[in-house]
Symmetry: C2
Subunit: 110 residues, 2 copies
DNA sequence: GTCTAATACATAAATCACTTATGTATTGAT
DNA sequence: ATCAATACATAAGTGATTTATGTATTAGAC
């Protein structure tokens, strides 16, 4: 894991983009996918993820569909149309931020 | 300005690296330099900067030298030896973080 | 056949960096 | 003279995230 400080403010961006790239997903699946994509470096905590999902849903960026797998419950999330727009915007904003930080820290990112 | 969320956790890294690159600097000067380097995108607030400087000093990463310019006071900060090491580590950590985020968000940074 | 880890959701209290607000005082510009 | 910029500082409030806790199912190890 990285110093978790840096991760602050990136959770929603990560969730939106991962959902955009992988379509319908449920919470636990998102944590696993992000763990995979980050090579074990980013471990989303449930205490952060679930409230974030609820918030994004309340803002109309996500739709939910609850499915029963045997006796276990899964809540699948998908992006709404505004959600797709937001995903794009958030990623663009992040890239922009990185560019700026590159200038300030005088580092090359590639 | 960017969404300020993303900036969280980067303040110490910025301060340490700017001090490493520009040598002896005082607080206000740091805000101006960062503003310049970031093309006006990153505006450090005093309420964040001064406490951060005090904290870094308390941790032994910075040395201070108070100078009177006429009747105005300036507190110049320089990196200590551990401060230089930290500057390097923090930047490396940030670059690492960016790399990881690039994988998760599937974006190319360059 | 039972115990542990993994799966899967959820919420509440505590933390902590940072914003916002406020304060003091000097200097330069109009 | 007045306002903006320079230059420091601290305290209250905010809010995303961590940590802690809770419930319940399923798969694998021994």
């Amino acid at each position: 894991m990285h110093s978790p400080e840096l991760l602050k403010g990136t959770l929603q961006t990560i969730v939106l983009k991962v959902l955009k790239d992988h379509g319908k997903m449920y919470g636990y699946e998102i944590t696993q996918r992000v763990k995979e994509l980050s090579d074990g470096h980013i471990l989303l905590t449930e205490g952060a993820l679930y409230p974030a999902l609820h918030k994004l849903e309340a803002e109309g960026l996500l739709n939910t569909e609850t499915v029963s797998i045997g006796k276990r419950i899964r809540k699948y999330y998908t992006l709404t149309s505004p959600g797709k727009v937001q995903a794009k915007e958030r990623v663009a904003e992040f890239v922009d931020f990185i560019q700026t930080m590159g200038s300030v820290l005088q580092v090359k990112l590639n």
